[in-house]
Structure formats: structure tokens, C-alpha cells
Amino acid sequence: MNTGPAVQTDRLAKRYGRVAALDGLTMSVDRGEVFGFLGPNGAGKTTAVKLLLGLARPTAGRAQVLGAPLGDRLTRRRIGYLPELFRYQPWLRAREVLALHCRLAGLARDRWSTEIEGVLALVGLADRAEDLVGTFSKGMQQRLGLGVALLGSPALVILDEPTSALDPVGRLDVRTIIRTARDRGTTVFLNSHLLTEVERVCDRVAIIDHGRVLEAGRLDELLGEPTLRVRVTDLSPAAAETLRPFGPLRLDGEWLTIQPLPPDKVPDVVAAIVAGGGRIHEVDVGRSSLEDRFLRLLTHGSLQQ
């Protein structure tokens, strides 16, 4: 069994005439992880996905998916895909769409029933299995698309904006489904604009713009050290000085910030403030959000070489 990366690209490029949709994309997705693929509109995310699936041909560079070169037809048996802009045949019933994809994916006939019932229950469409897809809301179609992508327990699932049409409950369901898939050993490649969704579910992310990776890594690496912010009054300068050993300290009006600060030190800092006579009104333990990091990267355009 191949144990190399699920996806590996090396200076992958794609041009449409004069426009460079991808300009030397180099990245690696490990097996069994949930990988977030982020970027603004036009960054080249969907182009990258199409190249990985063999739906478009690269202009330059190389890539492997599940150990096989791009476009390998048999490898697509082990890949599930939810396109961003998609529609299933409106004249088919949900169960028939799933049966069609069981057939197209080359699943053994005796597995169809189990697979179909399993994904219908997973995506919450068990009671709509006999309804025509044409009667489905966009959110339900997205659930069905997720079910189609998960048929046959693929080794790699590529989800292109899987929650764009879902309500908060649907998004929570999708996060649970993604985590369940990861726990089964499936690699999930998540292409999304919804940064809070990505932040909640992904192990690693890559942020791309103009067809290049700006930054990639584990979320805690990207988001930096945790920060403690405390709104405090009546804290004397001498008492504030006693807090310096915890980490770099900044006072801005009533707000005291220590960054970085390991989370297990938070109770000690609070106790020291109270011991120094300070009155605590608010305590905020956090780190910069993925959105902050994303916007900062795009603003500064710092290219990872």
C-alpha cells in the first residue's frame, strides 16, 4: 500500500491564454488529514482541484494524487469529489443519483445498497431518498453531493465549498461528517471561503493567491502563540511589573496584553493581578484568527519561496 502523501504538487502551473490561473503551485497533503485550501476569488483554487482530478491538463509542473500521476483514470475510483458549481440530474431520485455514482465509481453491485443507505443516513437525507433531485433545495442538493463524494469510502475526498448553501445546522453536520471521514482514515481536501469553518475542522491549511502558495502549515503554526488580554483597573505599576516574568507585556489603557502566553499560565496571571490589587473585568484568551492571518497575508503578499 502506498504511504506517500495523498497529494503532492511540484511547481504545477496552468495558463489559459495569457492568464496564469496557477503559477507554480507546490504543496503536499498528508494521508488521513483534513487539509484546508484557501484563497481569494480567482486565486486558482478550483483550477488546482480540476488539475488534481484530471479534468484539466497542467501547462507545466508535476503532481501525484494517491501516488499516481495526474489524470490516472483508475485512481479516480478512490477519489470522491463535490464540485463547487454542480447539479445532479433533476429527473433522478436521490437514491438513483447515488446508485449511478456507485456504478460509475466501479463499486461491486453487492455493496451498493449498504453504501447508499449509509451515506443517506450520514448526510441526513434518509427520508428524502425517493424524492426527485429537482425538488431539492440547494442545501439538500449540497448534502446529496456530499453523499455522492463519500460513496465507497474513498481514500481522498475533495470538497469544493461544501457548506456554501448550508444553514448553521447543516454546517455543523458537515463538520461532523468531515471529522468522521478523517477518523476512518480518509484524506479530506477542503476548498472553502468560509475561514471559520476551515479553522474548526482542518489540521493543516495552505493559503494561495495568484496561483501560488503564500503560506502552508499546521493551524497552530500559522496562527501563532496564544494571547491573554485582560481588562483590569486599579493595577499599580509595581504590580504590573510583577507580571513581566510571564511574557512580553503591553498596557493599553485598561487592557493588559501578554503575548505569547501558554494557556496553562492563565490562572497564574489572573491570581497575580488579583494579589497585586487589580480588579478584573474581562479575560480573553485567544490567538489571531485564521481570517486575520489570511487578510494579513493577502495584504502583504509575502510569498513563500
Binding site: Y16, K50, L53, L55, A56, R57, R73, L74, T75, R76, R77, I79, Y81, P83, L85, F86, R87, Y88, Q89, W91, L92, L100, H101, R103, L104, A105, G106, G145, V148
Partner: protein, 282 residues
Amino acid sequence: MTTIAWLTIREAARRRVLWVLIGLTIVSVAVTGWGTERLASLARAGDVPELQIQVGVSQVLILVAFMFSFVLAMTAAFLGAPAIAADLESGVALALLARPIRRADLVVGRWLGLTIVVAAYSIASGLLEIGVVGLLTGHTPPEPWIAVVFLAGQATVLLTIALLFSTRLPAIASGAICVVLYGLAWMAGVFAGIGRVFGVDVFVGVAQASRWLFPSDGLWRGVIYGLEPPLVVFEATRAGVPAEANPFYASAPPPIGFIAWSIVWIALVVGLAVWSLNRREI
């Protein structure tokens, strides 16, 4: 490929348009059957010789077949035109082609499924018309099977070219181009007949070339031949060249070489459609 073909047939069966078409066909058959029956009955009441009545009904049947062939050609063109284009525009193709199938499977599967639908409809509607007219007037054409098979062949030509355009153009543009091609091919056939009668070789040459480039009109001649009573052919042959100018007359079936070429032409155009989709970025 068979999965896509089967999917296409199911789609046609579930779409309302096919049932509307079948309903309209039944109405058309009923109306034309009633019309030919009235013509024959009135002629018989007027002591017109039976042979003359049969010849008259046969010519009406050829005109009705022309109407059918036109409707079929349009149906085939507008079924073929969105076959790939609509899948690409709606995103259905993305979901299908991400599976372990070739693009050729999508094109050939679509073509096969639509050809089965169109051929079945052509043969069934053609035989129904011939059967109803025969039942009501007593006239049976000499080669009804040949007629309906050529009818299906002509529709398949339109369907195939529409499928080719569908790999590159929006559905409406593909359909419109096919209608124009069909009309031009038919007009070329008419000009060929006129060219023969008046000895205008350039007309004949251009028309022959167009028939090989786009064989719909050549196959239509096979439909006429299947419906033309031998007596009409005999009398027209005796009259000489002028009968050739009649666009609803054929003294012989299309040559076997032309039939073979039509089959090769269809295969080539399907191959071209596969090549075209393979080259296209999705």
C-alpha cells in the same frame, strides 16, 4: 459507456418533452389518417379508378413522410444539441467525469442513448403512420421498412452533427446550425434535380458534394424510394428526365456506397466529437 447510454434513455423517458412529442405524433397520425381516408373515400364515391386512388394516396403519404422527417430532424437536432453542452454548463459533467470514466464514454454513451431513442421513435412513428393509412385507405407502400430505416438514418445524421457541435457550442447555437445545415442539404438535393433536368452540371456537382459532406438529403431519398409505388417509378422513367426535378420522387434507392459512406460519416463525426471534448478544458 453503457451506463451513460442507459442514463440518457432514462432521461428521455422521464422528460415531458418526449411524451409531448409522442402525443403530438398520435394526433398527427390521426389527422393525416383521417385526411387520406376522406380523400380516398371521396375519390371512390366519384368513381375514380382504384389504381389512381392508390397512386394519389402514395404521394400524400410521401408528403406526410416529409413532414415527419422534418419534425424528426428537428427533434434529433434539439436532442443532440444540449447533450454535452447542457452537462458542461450545469456542472453535471464535472461530477460524471471526476469518476473513472473516459470522456469518450460520455460522448459515445450520449450518442448511443439518443440514437436508440430517436431511431425507436422514427421507426415506431413511421410504421404507425404507414399502418394507419394502410388500414384506412388500403394503400401499403412497397418497402415500408426501408422507408422507416432511412428515416431513422436521416435523424441519426442530424443527431450526430448536433452532438459534435454540442461539445463546443451552447445548445441553442448547435441546434440552430443543424437546422440550417438540414435546410441547405435539402435545397442542394432540389437543385441537383433541377440541374439534371436542365443540364446545369455545376448544380449537380455542388449538390453531389454536399450530399457526401452532409448525407441527410441522400438518406431522405431512401425514404421516398421505400414509399414510391413501382407504377409511379415505371411511369416516371418512361417520361424521362423531368421527373428527377421532383424533390418528392426517387427512382432508385441510395447507392450502397453512399449508405456505407453515411455509416462511416456518422462514425467519423462521433470520433470528432470525442476528440473535440478531449481537447476541451472543462
